[in-house]
Symmetry: C2
Subunit: 157 residues, 2 copies
């Protein structure tokens, strides 16, 4: 995640975090660190276990509390892929999010990220958002697009 750190000790998110009245704590720093260094789709417990290795005093409730804040601040996306637990992933770049969509295998649960949209896809989404905003007077903040089916391994049984 290049370009996010200044020269000082403060991380890219410290400013926004403090601006919202939140304190910079050890648990929060480590949770963010783990999110930064992991590839996506981690469950709260996944994150807890990774933090635990660095900081065994961590509590699971703190992980949940921190994730809730991050989701509300728009720094983390929360997904439900149907396996009974929520999944979290850091939004890579706040200014210009590297948005991506998901392919979810309904058999083995594998999740494939794809970002190589057709140019049209991006255009169309903007157009649809505009149309829906107008028609339903709805202020659209973000969207989720997911294709479900069978991955290569599962469709070849």
């Amino acid at each position: 995640m290049p370009g996010r750190w200044g020269k000082g000790p403060a991380s890219w998110w410290h400013g926004e975090f403090k601006g919202c009245g939140y304190r910079i704590t050890i648990p929060r720093q480590i949770i963010l660190k783990v999110l930064e260094e992991s590839s996506g789709h981690l469950s709260a417990e996944d994150i807890y276990l990774k933090v635990y290795k660095i900081y065994p005093a961590i509590g699971l409730a703190t992980v949940y509390r921190t994730l809730e804040i991050l989701v509300n601040m728009g720094l983390v996306s929360k997904f439900d892929f149907g396996d009974g637990r929520a999944r979290y992933e850091l939004i890579q770049d706040i200014k210009e999010p590297v948005h991506h969509h998901h392919l979810v295998c309904t058999n083995c649960g594998r999740i494939i990220d794809y970002t190589d949209f057709l140019e049209e896809e991006i255009e169309l989404i903007k157009k649809i958002e505009k149309k829906l905003s107008a028609k339903y007077n709805f202020e659209i903040k973000n969207h989720t697009i997911q294709f479900n089916g069978l991955c290569d391994k599962c469709s070849n049984k």
Copy 2:
């Protein structure tokens, strides 16, 4: 839901149901009836309560079991809108599903169905599915598209 019933007593779904080795039972008939007569986004408990009025002997576990079958058969869609309980809705027409997408208010939880896609939207989805299938060797069965934001009431505070 016109055009689904023959002249006999059997409902449109009886054939497919039996074909899968499932028995036609009173609880299942009433659950389907409730799904047919309700507008979408019902939780398992919503369904349980509606069935209960007609058939008080119903058990909640039976509702869950039946819904699981219906989802697996592709007769019912299951969604998670982030309020901690799954939502179910009958797919209106199996042959030519009246597919729709959702606008979800992140403040009050209101859900708006929209089906009035731009013609381009439908075309593009087909194109994307084809591209993704080829690239990831993924057999796409269905998709979910959801826009999140604030509904008119909530954005006017």
